[in-house]
């Protein structure tokens, strides 16, 4: 049987690239920082949802600077007892800050935010010029 070294190495190289791609796409490597955020868009508004379980409402700051929305704050760790041994430690604590570039212009004065069950929802109504317009053909 004839064994083609060159094509064997090419196959290996392809395999390696594919594995790299899987890791690049997985959420573990790409989004390991707190908090995790989803962004949604409809015709009238943008909605940003962030996972902030255990964070006090007063410890969350939301600022908008031009088209950059920044979410910052602090997540305090609760002490459960004097003498404890940690068996698992998967949750993260401390200061956090994340910024997002908004894809469209929004009405700055009409932004609202709601925090319930550890989920923060920021509603950002689109500016009139960012809303889709239907254009009728005259003739």
């Amino acid at each position: 049987m004839f064994f083609d070294f060159e094509s064997a190495f090419r196959e290996l190289e392809n395999l390696r690239n594919e594995i790299d791609n899987i890791f690049n796409r997985s959420n573990y490597y790409r989004y390991s920082t707190f908090p995790l955020v989803n962004m949604y868009e409809n015709n009238d508004s943008l909605q940003l949802v962030a996972e902030l379980p255990g964070v006090n409402k007063d410890d969350i700051n939301i600022t908008l600077n031009n088209d950059i929305l920044t979410l910052s704050g602090k997540r305090e760790e609760k002490k459960y007892a004097e003498k404890v041994e940690t068996l698992r430690n998967e949750r993260s604590f401390g200061n956090f800050e994340k910024s997002f570039r908004l894809p469209v212009l929004v009405k700055k004065d009409e932004i609202t935010a709601n925090f319930a069950d550890g989920l923060l929802t920021i509603n950002l109504p689109k500016a009139e010029e960012a809303k889709p317009k239907k254009i009728t053909i005259q003739a």
Binding site: M39, Q47, E51, T86, L87
Partner: protein, 131 residues
């Protein structure tokens, strides 16, 4: 659900305890576990879950199973997603030293706290020896 969204779901780990019950279509929440002198504390992040939608049970194999149902209605039109919205499932094997009839839980602001006391005979005792 699109292929990409499926891939972004956190994997549900299958430890021996977790294989006992169907954990499909659930997310694996992050957890901290602390072992105290007379109790075990579990803190679990389950954002989107309201009080009354959490089920904590211990089965005949001494497996602590936590299931939680989300109340968050996901908006349409995702631009990007770093987390999936859905129910939560996690399970752990408890050792015999814990009193499974005295488990208590509290849900506050998306964090579930579970306390499991040790059985009386398993608590550390101070023994004084007079010589």
């Amino acid at each position: 659900m699109t292929e990409l969204e499926k891939r972004e779901q956190k994997e549900v780990t299958t430890t021996s305890a977790e294989q006992l019950t169907d954990a499909k279509n659930s997310y694996k929440p992050d957890v901290d576990i602390f072992y105290g002198e007379d109790k075990l504390f579990i803190a679990m992040d389950i954002p989107g879950v309201k009080k009354g939608d959490v089920n904590i049970e211990v089965d005949e194999n001494n497996t602590l199973i936590i299931k939680a149902k989300t109340s968050f209605k996901e908006p349409e039109g995702a631009l990007y997603k770093q987390f999936g919205i859905g129910n939560y499932y996690r399970a752990f094997t408890l050792s015999d030293e814990f009193d499974k009839d005295k488990i208590s839980g509290n849900l506050e602001n998306g964090v579930l706290e579970i306390t499991i006391p040790k059985k009386e005979e398993a608590k550390p005792k101070k023994i004084e020896i007079k010589v």
